[in-house]
């Protein structure tokens, strides 16, 4: 074979090989998403069955299917009304809320980490959750946002989250760059201030706040979830995910640094503002229904990046699903650990997430 022909042939072979690996990669990623969906569904069904009154997974699945319009006719009703009540009214809303909250916190973590270009960022660590809790309690006490009806709590929490995020972000910027020590310390300070505000309000006005006591705001709980609580957080996570996914290239490029992102055609400031809003929305809405559950936004994106790399096209959907699964099972642990008493779920995530954060810090310092 002549040299030139040989080269052409070789190029063709290489191209063909590449085609195969590219397709293979796409396939593995799709397979992973499908697998995660199945695991999520399995987690929902299994975790609903677990509790003071155990319900068999099969019965849980049947009760859930029975609520669907078309499939309904094919399901044989062999469960007790008590079981249906436990599954449909008590536990499913709680587990579904767990999925939504987990997905929202993980997505908020991804957005924050893109904003500050560091994997150590998390809404809880940087005081965003504390800010949301503080304004949510304020809102409840003074009824500032009561004209907004049932969304007032979410919106007041959003405002606090946005203030904290913007404050921490702009304070951590030194000469146009994010200084990580400055960022974490500002986060700690903002967190303490906001926690103090929350404590003062909850302690001085116990009656007005009723169910939502200080423990709820600071350590989070999914207890008391109702179907009515699900709609708004669900809409918010769906909208935020769509926006973040639309911006996946921009988020990737943003990780290169502000200047490099600018040279690749990104209006950096606009994107940063958008990220602050999205992150605050996700955190604010989540806090208003579940209190603050920490470290999910730190751990989940980290594990996700180990699995699929840093490309946001993959990080976003995988993080959301993993976050949901993590929170659902942590909530099961919170229900069962000292039954019949319940542990606040935020205490459990802190117990695991704290050491994880320290490990990340050490790893960061070494590299």
């Amino acid at each position: 074979m002549k040299g030139k022909e040989y080269m052409q042939e070789k190029t063709r072979q290489l191209a063909a090989q590449k085609e195969i690996t590219n397709q293979g990669e796409k396939w593995t990623f799709s397979a992973m998403i499908i697998l995660l969906f199945i695991v999520s569904l399995g987690s929902i069904i299994l975790s609903i069955g677990i509790g003071p009154v155990a319900v068999a997974p099969l019965a849980v699945a049947k009760i859930m299917l029975h609520k669907l319009p078309v499939v309904q006719a094919y399901i044989q009703m062999d469960w007790t009304p008590l079981e249906e009540n436990i599954v449909w009214v008590l536990r499913l809303p709680r587990v579904a809320l767990g999925m939504i909250v987990g997905a929202s916190l993980a997505a908020a973590g991804v957005a924050m980490q893109a904003l500050v270009r560091n994997t150590l960022a998390d809404p809880f660590i940087l005081g965003v959750s504390a800010g949301a809790s503080a304004t949510a309690t304020l809102g409840m006490l003074f009824g500032v946002f009561s004209f907004l009806g049932s969304y007032s709590l979410s919106i007041s929490a959003f405002i606090g989250a946005a203030i904290s995020t913007a404050l921490v972000y702009y304070m951590a910027k030194v000469k146009g760059k994010i200084n990580i020590a400055q960022l974490l310390l500002t986060g700690v300070a903002v967190s303490m201030i906001m926690d103090a505000v929350t404590k003062i309000i909850t302690l001085s006005a116990p009656n007005a706040l009723g169910l939502h006591n200080a423990a709820f705001w600071m350590s989070g709980s999914l207890a008391g979830a109702k179907w009515a609580y699900l709609k708004f957080p669900l809409i918010v996570i769906i909208i935020c995910m769509i926006i973040l996914l639309a911006y996946y290239r921009v988020l990737n490029v943003l990780l290169l640094g502000e200047e490099a992102a600018g040279t690749l055609g990104i209006s950096v400031e606009r994107v940063q503002k958008l990220l602050i809003i999205i992150c605050s929305l996700l955190v604010g809405v989540t806090i208003s229904v579940s209190g603050s559950i920490g470290f999910v936004g730190l751990m989940v994106p980290h594990v996700t990046r180990l699995l699929v790399g840093s490309n946001h096209k993959r990080v976003l959907p995988v993080s959301a699903l993993l976050g949901g699964i993590l929170v659902v099972w942590t909530d099961v642990a919170a229900r069962m650990a000292i039954a019949p008493e319940e542990l606040p779920i935020g205490i459990l995530t802190a117990l695991v997430g704290g050491p994880f954060f320290i490990w990340l810090l050490r790893k960061n310092a070494k590299s």
């Binding site: 191209a15 590449k18 690996t21 994997t119 290239r249 290169l256």
Partner: protein, 264 residues
């Protein structure tokens, strides 16, 4: 004319960093900017590619005022290789190069076969197609620089601004980087630290000193003993090298300089 810069000025608060910088780059030229640390080389470049907003002056790219261009359009015309390229997130080489396509991609746009072809071509042109799936963070300095140039190729601009692209690289990589950029045949404006390399690759050189253009011209007219002493504060001997036909600078250490001064 590719780039025309007129009376560019920039200041940090009350401190003037650059002033009255005028320069031009003709199509196909490889233009170097030299000057000691802190002379304002980087600042000039950053004001041209709009990482900084100039206090005064205008830049025209292909006859169009850069001020009026959107970020995206600028990115479709100017490719920039900056000094800082640290990243603490693990992207593989192919993903890094693919980022060069972002100026052409709207929010919901999919990656097309055309994009993939451009990325593949950029990878093979830099000889890194076999590294496509390797983590960028694990590469050596020289390899990283090749990836970044491949990203510039994927960005498909015919004008490149390079800010000391070979800083901290081994000499073999320095030559490799300049060779591969030269081979592209695009118009280049580059801040260059190493004066001998500037002599080898540049068509014309601008000397920036204390924030102003000190001198401009072909390497042989620019790289003189007087300039090196006045601007860089060093004694040197300069000869036209028989093989390269370019000026070659030999820096003189203090011991020799003193002897020479005594003789004079």
């Amino acid at each position: 004319m590719k780039l025309l810069v007129e009376n560019l000025a920039f200041s940090h608060g009350t401190q003037t960093i650059i002033e009255d910088i005028s320069l031009y780059v003709a199509k196909g030229e490889f233009i170097g900017i030299i000057g000691p640390n802190g002379s304002g080389k980087s600042t000039v470049l950053k004001n041209i590619y709009r990482a900084l907003t100039p206090k005064a002056g205008m830049s025209f790219l292909d006859g169009e005022n850069v001020d009026g261009m959107s970020r995206r359009k600028t990115a479709q015309k100017i490719g920039v290789l900056g000094q800082e390229n640290n990243i603490s997130f693990d992207f593989n080489v192919e993903e890094m190069v693919a980022m060069g396509r972002s100026p052409y991609k709207g929010l919901f746009a999919r990656d097309t076969e055309e994009d993939q072809r451009i990325i593949d071509r950029a990878l093979s042109k830099m000889g890194i197609e076999n590294m496509a799936k390797i983590n960028y963070m694990n590469l050596s300095g020289g390899e990283k620089q090749r990836v970044l140039i491949a990203r510039l190729l994927a960005q498909k601009t015919d004008f490149l601004i390079l800010d000391e692209p070979t800083n901290h690289l081994d000499i073999s990589y320095q030559l490799q980087v300049f060779d591969s950029i030269r081979e592209l045949g695009v118009t280049v404006l580059a801040a260059i630290h190493d004066l001998n390399l500037a002599a080898l690759y540049c068509d014309r050189i601008y000397v920036i000193h204390k924030g102003r253009v000190y001198k401009v011209g072909e390497p042989k007219d620019i790289l003189t003993k007087e300039m090196l002493l006045n601007v860089f504060g060093v004694y040197a001997d300069i000869a036209i090298h028989p093989i390269t036909n370019k000026p070659s600078i030999t820096y003189l250490p203090k011991s020799i300089t003193l002897q020479k001064e005594k003789k004079i």
